[in-house]
Symmetry: C2
Subunit: 154 residues, 2 copies
């Protein structure tokens, strides 16, 4: 199998754009843009997300710890870009987009889904992080930012 073959097929896999956010044990906040967020079960309400082990946020993820999945609105392209830029990793919270009072979450997202990490399954370069949903806040109208074919969709 050619690497290019796989990448081409993955360009056809469209997904919402989310930012996942967490704090480490010292209270330092982390955030990362992710498209590999998938609902898992209704019983219990659960979601999984795949996280590269080299991502900064990975070390802030632990069993029983909190994780917020922020599904982005179309107007949140700037924060999506900021939270996927390695160069700007330390600047991800230097803006007014966040509520950092407890588990950090993005204001004005489509949904903020507050989760508790239930299992972390390692698979080569990535961890599959399985979370139970504790609470979810959503806006009323659907206007989710989506990514496919190498860019954001209109």
């Amino acid at each position: 199998m050619q690497r290019e073959e796989f990448l081409t097929s993955m360009r056809h896999l469209a997904a919402s754009v989310s930012i996942i956010s967490a704090k480490d044990s010292g209270g330092k906040p982390y955030a990362m843009t992710a498209s590999s967020v998938t609902s898992l079960s209704m019983e219990p309400p659960s979601i999984l997300v795949c996280v590269n082990k080299s991502a900064g946020i990975h070390k802030a993820l632990s069993l029983g710890g909190g994780l917020c999945i922020n599904i982005l609105s179309k107007h949140q392209v700037d924060i999506a870009n900021l939270c996927s830029s390695k160069d700007q990793e330390n600047a991800r919270f230097e803006n007014n987009d966040w509520d950092n009072s407890e588990l950090p979450f993005l204001k004005e997202a489509q949904s903020n889904i507050f989760c508790k990490i239930d299992q972390i399954i390692e698979y080569h370069t990535h961890s599959i992080v399985i979370t139970k949903v504790v609470k979810a806040i959503s806006v009323n109208s659907f206007n989710t930012l989506m990514y496919a074919d190498g860019g954001y969709l209109d």
Copy 2:
């Protein structure tokens, strides 16, 4: 947490529509519409999909066995509906949409991703099926069918 709260947030999680297909050990083909398909790693090229244990296809999934992930094009709403209808479970292959010569795959999909099942991880009602990609065939233009907010997106 209210069940309704979770469901509302999941309406904001947009995704491609795929049909996964496989054969059991007796050669009987199975197919199921799925939106919980997510790329996992580039090293090795791998994808995961969450499958309800009560789905017919679940019993055809085994370690080392084949699974095809067919990412649908926008014109494939009919087959998406057929492969998500429990009532029509036995009619899913009674059409000309399939190539059944080996591992069944959908003709005219955006991509046909041929996989080998590497791990099956049970989580309550569902199994997380981790697959290594063996081969992928894609059409050139992006025209993926997407689902969110309780319906297909235009």
